[in-house]
Symmetry: C2
Subunit: 364 residues, 2 copies
């Protein structure tokens, strides 16, 4: 068997199951779905449509106007919030798709006031400690009553929601409560993304914004992941070879065989979103019955290929699919192995134009 | 001015100019263009069409059958070579688009013999030291005369072509010459990609396979880059704020202000291909007349935003485009700043579905 293409299996059933689990964790808040960056690479249209049709999801968050416009047709009467807000380069998308801007600065509020869309009331984003987008306190104090009346919801965003006992959580919660009480006492509120949702009811307010956890990422890493994995990434063994003792492997000859090895060339590379930082440190997997074998990545990862050491793995065959990501080695695990987070892994692997995407409902 | 979207400017004139420069460096070899991974993220169709129409390029290399099929319509009578070869999952693409497989193993040769396409003669890839794809010497020795007659070209690939004096270059050159003389004395040959092309005439044989250098990457980094830069990446300043002394910035609070700072939130992030590994170490740029100001990235890069320190930069304005990549800070530079190579940077930034792609002919 000769195969050449990687396969990304996306389990939309599990995304829906994660959505329902999260709804139970925040039973008194509306569960909005974050589908920015093409639903973290997994397909914003498919995710939004599934959660809208089968999960009853009525509110979606994207980063850019263009992303909102892309999902409008599949969630015809849902609210679509745009986190980066509205500007000259997205105004038409907002008008066409009836998007709701998240407004983070006085200047953007001015732009909104000159370009209002009938029937749309924006969200105000206030800064409580992340020091990213959002109105600072002095800017809130300068708002007129008529400015304040523009808004339908107030939101902020946590910096350290994935660390249960981090002092920033209480600090931001206090700031959010205080600023909301001062400036928007009557508006519904949203503070938390996935990570904050796990911090308990007081962080959930009226709406939680669920992204990473929907896609299986453990946003509460201080305990076992309660989310189901939603991706498997497989890539075919394109060639098996003997690596003589003393030979080098890959670009810049960064691996040298201290004894004769058996190697497999697997048809996936950084062009498909596998971080090159996994060179000589990552691993791919070959399941054999109940047992799972790790094959260490040796040498540099190249654009289209990974080379791994299969010396101790029984019966690896050409055309066999190596497991790159699976339930037992998730985007979180791969991220940890190269100094990043599962979010970045997901965001990358979904963007390969050579990987075959397969919709799977039967990931274990 | 409020703007929210990043802009990637791609200069196809410079890609064409690089192609012509490389043709002069290898005047006796055919200059094939490598457009795999969507032309390193820059658009395989556009690149192939331009080089075919205006550069006279008649041979293109892709990694996967599906990539070859995507460019067939714009290069109707060119040769399209597929580096990962042919298999069950790509056979139909090969047939429809009349692609030429690069065959790297005896098993793939068997597959080819059972699935030949009339009028197509494949390339044989032989292993000379990279220890990636290719026939090993024992496998070459086992070929019958009729097997050998299948092929129209013999190729291999260098491991260390970007290091002028690396012993691997001579080692692979000797291996390639010896194996070609033994097994394919009459076939045209191709050993070098961009990097090997710069190693001189003896490495160029009958065809050079030009990828990275076309896209401005310095594949001969032991001297000044002779290639023109082909990309600029710009992203708007979405908000400017004061960062009080003692405050933290971004996820996990990884940056703390030792004095009051002025910060800009720039609307681009790892979702757009900016490596998260640039958190707290990368920089973005603001040109002011003849002078170029560096704004250090502070805190973690997030999916949609970068925060940078603009305290010492005059007159940064909301809506102004920060320069993320430019002639003075190329994909090579960004790669070096986060422990990778320009290839991986290019491959990532071209895949953002939120970035506006603009075709520029006037990069300085």
């Amino acid at each position: 068997m000769i195969l050449t293409r990687p396969i990304l299996e996306i389990n939309f059933d599990n995304i829906l199951a994660n959505y329902k689990t999260l709804q139970k964790i925040a039973p008194h808040a509306e569960a909005a779905a974050v589908v920015k960056d093409d639903a973290y690479g997994l397909g914003a249209q498919q995710v939004a449509q599934r959660l809208y049709n089968d999960g009853g999801c009525q509110s979606f968050f994207v980063a850019h106007g263009i992303e909102g416009e892309r999902i409008r047709s599949v969630v015809p009467d849902a609210k679509i919030f745009v986190l980066q807000g509205i500007g000259q380069d997205s105004l038409e998308a907002f008008q066409r798709a009836r998007l709701i801007p998240v407004i983070s600065s006085p200047e953007m509020l001015e732009f909104w006031k000159q370009n209002k869309i009938d029937g749309i009331k924006p969200v105000i984003n206030i800064e409580t400690g992340l020091n990213r987008l959002g109105f600072r306190e002095s800017e809130l104090a300068a708002l007129t009553n008529s400015d304040k009346a523009e808004f339908a919801m107030v939101m902020s965003h946590l910096a350290c929601g994935d660390e249960k006992d981090h002092f920033m959580n209480e600090h931001q919660l206090e700031n959010f409560r205080r600023l909301k009480a001062l400036y928007f006492p009557d508006l519904p509120a949203s503070l938390s993304a996935s990570d904050g949702t796990f911090l308990g009811a007081e962080f959930q307010f009226d709406m939680v914004r669920l992204g990473a956890a929907l896609y299986g990422i453990n946003t509460a890493p201080y305990r076992e992941n309660q989310m189901k994995n939603v991706v498997r990434l497989l890539a075919p063994v394109l060639q098996i070879a003997t690596l003589p003792k003393g030979d080098f492997v890959g670009y810049s000859a960064t691996y040298r065989a201290m004894s004769q090895r058996k190697i497999a060339i697997v048809s996936i590379g950084y062009g498909d979103g596998i971080p090159r930082a996994l060179s000589n440190v990552g691993k791919v997997f070959f399941p054999r019955g109940d047992r799972l074998y790790e094959a260490r990545i040796i040498g540099r990862i190249s654009m289209d290929n990974i080379i791994c050491d299969i010396t101790d793995i029984p019966d690896v065959r050409q055309g066999e699919m190596a497991h790159i990501l699976d339930d037992f080695y998730t985007p979180d695990d791969m991220g940890r192995d190269c100094g990043t987070i599962g979010y970045e892994i997901l965001s990358r692997i979904g963007k390969s134009a050579r990987t075959e995407v397969s919709l799977s409902a039967n990931i274990a």
